[in-house]
């Protein structure tokens, strides 16, 4: 579904379009740098405690300092996810942790639990408070409450529709952030403890084991109460089982509507995702946002952006609650075949225009004769077949086998440092 609006309607609605922030995940320092190089205005990271991705690499304070320095050089911001629902045992140390974030120069924390909000007001006065989607904020009165509490931005519940977002913007003058891309809870965020019940892993402290994506049978009992007798099984052998698994969010086709809604920050999910994923997705959204802001009336959705997103996709995609309530098409019932057909093969480290030779840092196995694609934030985008490859001493190689090995090879078009070379899988 596409929102179309005439020039007159648009002029009547808003005089000036504001450039939204593009906010990307950064699971580690390298991903932070890639997200920013590829066009993120801000990144969000996790520290060693209080975040919701206990399995991610997560940043030490030293890495945060380095990340903040890098971001500053590039005019970008760094947010830290401290969005657990804390238990009593998590409270000691919280003040010191938040103070350290303040000293490091973190721009904002993403926070759900008022215990952390209140502590941050005292411990980290220079750090902005962004209310996490984990609070499931869905109405403007709640947004106003949080504004009064000193929160400078609200990340809305993923259940908010475009109309509701616009109404919230009309009622409350506060920054609004929404998820525009990536994996989604099918429950209200935070209102799911399946993981706690199935595996004793606390979902609201980063232990989620994604039970919503498991397979279930659905039964109907004979009576209004549970009885010993199963009656009708509504799932059938050989047919798709019941699941709560949601398709991933993807709003690349709706950038104009999102910008016109006045949303201040567009958020991409995925602190556990690869460099290739983050760079590719950020790159596509950066181009779409910039194209629209440059000339809203001449804006056209480019097939190329869709294809790019497709190359990084993990699951089938949908638009969640933005336009209409999700239905059966927004869930994943059939076995997930990974649509991701591309992998990160190498990173451009150097390029000599005179000889057309590039130095590539190996990220995954590649070899002569293989088709590869180059993409980059400066507009690099072409395919070629890998020709002869050499090590840095000029010795020919039959394949690039070793991680981070530097490889020299001829490229058919100019490339830039930090362009990515990707290969098709299989």
């Amino acid at each position: 579904m596409t929102i179309t609006m005439s020039r007159e309607e648009m002029l009547g609605k808003r005089r000036k379009l504001a450039l939204p922030e593009l906010l990307a995940p950064a699971g580690n320092l390298e991903k932070l740098k890639f997200a920013i190089r590829y066009g993120a205005d801000a990144v969000y990271i996790g520290g060693q405690r209080y975040g919701l991705r206990s399995n991610a690499d997560n940043f030490s304070f030293d890495e945060m300092r380095e990340g903040v320095a890098f971001a500053r050089q590039h005019g970008a911001k760094v947010f830290v996810a401290t969005n657990i629902y804390a238990h009593n045992e998590d409270l000691p140390g919280l003040h010191d942790y938040l103070s350290e974030l303040d000293r490091i120069g973190i721009d904002a924390i993403i926070v759900a639990d008022p215990a952390i909000i209140e502590t941050a007001k005292r411990a980290a006065p220079n750090v902005e408070l962004h209310l996490s989607t984990q609070q499931s904020t869905l109405n403007w009165q709640a947004v106003r409450f949080w504004k009064d509490e000193g929160v400078s931005r609200v990340v809305l519940a993923r259940e908010a529709s475009m109309r509701e977002i616009e109404e919230i913007k009309e009622h409350v003058d506060i920054e609004i952030e929404v998820f525009i891309h990536g994996a989604m809870c099918s429950s209200y965020s935070g209102r799911c403890v399946l993981s706690n019940h199935f595996t004793d892993r606390d979902s609201n402290r980063g232990g989620c084991c994604q039970s919503c994506r498991w397979k279930y049978d659905l039964f109907v009992s004979e009576e209004d109460l549970m009885t010993e007798s199963y009656s009708a099984r509504l799932t059938a052998d050989g047919e798709d089982p019941f699941t709560m698994s949601s398709k991933d969010m993807c709003m690349i086709e709706h950038i104009p509507a999102l910008i016109r809604s006045g949303v201040d920050s567009f958020k991409i999910e995925g602190r556990m995702k690869s460099i290739h994923y983050v760079a590719t997705v950020v790159n596509a959204y950066r181009q779409a946002i910039d194209a629209y802001m440059r000339d809203p009336f001449a804006y056209e959705l480019k097939q190329e952006w869709l294809e790019e997103i497709g190359k990084a996709a993990n699951r089938p995609v949908s638009t969640g609650f933005f336009f209409e309530e999700p239905d059966h098409d927004d869930h994943i019932y059939t076995p997930e075949d990974k649509p991701q057909a591309y992998d990160f093969a190498g990173l451009v480290m150097d390029y000599d225009a005179a000889s057309g030779m590039a130095v590539i840092e190996q990220r995954n196995h590649f070899k002569p004769g293989q088709e590869v694609e180059f993409i980059g934030p400066d507009g690099t985008h072409f395919k070629q077949i890998v020709g002869d490859i050499y090590d840095t001493d000029g010795r020919p190689l039959d394949a690039a086998r070793h991680p981070l090995q530097l490889i020299r090879m001829h490229v058919e078009q100019p490339v830039h440092k930090f362009d990515m070379m990707r290969k098709k899988l299989n």
């Binding site: 238990h87 009593n88 919503c212 498991w214 019941f242």
Partner: protein, 318 residues
């Protein structure tokens, strides 16, 4: 300290239960409830039945005549469609004389402030009410009681009691909500399977439940309504065997979840907990758990649903 002083010092915890009709309110009070939780399902979630404010007013009258209390749940996650009526609803609950309103969404606080209502407020965010500092935060915003998440263990509850500066309530019996979605998952699944429309099982007096394929013995009730989908626990919490440990902590209020149970079952459970609380209050030192209490519950317990201590004695990882 004499025995008499000791029992004076012990403040009897309140015991409450959810009810879906005036008749249930009456029966549960007769069975020993100090308070009942009711609500209009337009503004409330997870109740055994919907009661419009006119009926809630009658429940209040009935309860107050018997020196018991009525709490009205206004505990939805509110979207814009319900905001316009929220203030009037809260006003009418105050006029009806309810003893407290149970809320989770800050929109309720805003409406209470705007109207200048004098309602007592009990705060619950279901599974995300997990530390005392957050509870104290909501107390500073007007809550006089916090209802704890069920995914806390005894030690955490004890710490909560020590740290909280207001009343705390825990669930002592019944099923719990473990998943809440705005999506209509049953309808979507049946549509996907090519079954035209989800039959109205609930209207036919039937119940749906899920079984995870690796856990064939656990049955998770799944409730779908116009607001979305709830998945409930496969077991019922039952703390009657360790109720003295909970009473020792000085918890202010105990709650029995009446959802998806027969009135007969709920009355029995209420009577048993009433007896245990009274026995403990009469003489904590002489208190002993009685097998007949658990036997009475077992007799009416759905054999497909285990009675467990929930998370009381568990350690979770993350």
């Amino acid at each position: 300290m004499s025995d008499n002083q000791a029992s004076d010092a012990f403040r009897k915890p309140e015991i409450s239960i959810s009810a879906g009709s005036l008749e249930e309110v009456k029966q549960y009070i007769e069975a020993g409830a100090d308070a009942v939780v009711v609500g209009d399902l337009t503004y409330a979630e997870r109740l055994p039945g919907s009661m419009p404010v006119t009926l809630i007013a009658e429940a209040v009258k009935l309860a107050h005549e018997r020196q018991t209390r009525v709490y009205a749940a206004v505990n939805k996650i509110f979207d814009h469609s319900l905001l316009p009526g929220l203030g009037d609803h809260l006003q009418s609950l105050q006029d009806a004389g309810v003893d407290a309103v149970i809320f989770g969404d800050p929109a309720v606080l805003m409406a209470v402030r705007e109207r200048g209502l004098g309602l007592r407020l009990h705060w619950t965010a279901e599974m995300t009410t997990t530390n005392y500092m957050t509870a104290n935060y909501w107390a500073s915003k007007g809550a006089s009681r916090t209802i704890l998440a069920r995914e806390l263990n005894l030690e955490e509850i004890a710490g909560f009691r020590r740290g909280a500066n207001h009343e705390i309530q825990i669930q002592v019996h019944g099923m719990t909500n473990i998943y809440h979605s705005k999506r209509k998952l049953v309808k979507h699944y049946l549509t996907h399977r090519g079954k035209k429309l989800a039959p109205q099982y609930e209207q036919d007096g039937k119940l749906l439940y899920l079984v995870e394929q690796e856990r064939p013995d656990e049955r998770y009730p799944i409730i779908e309504n116009e607001n979305g989908t709830l998945i409930m626990s496969s077991y019922d919490i039952c703390t009657i065997e360790c109720l003295d440990e909970l009473m020792e902590l000085g918890i202010d209020a105990f709650y029995i979840e009446g959802l998806l149970k027969s009135v007969e079952y709920n009355k029995t459970v209420m009577r048993v907990y009433r007896e245990a609380i009274d026995a403990y209050a009469a003489d904590p030192a002489a208190y002993e758990f009685r097998d007949e209490w658990l036997d009475a519950i077992h007799e009416l317990q759905d054999p497909g649903r285990e009675l467990t201590f929930g998370f009381l004695f568990k350690e979770q990882v993350y």
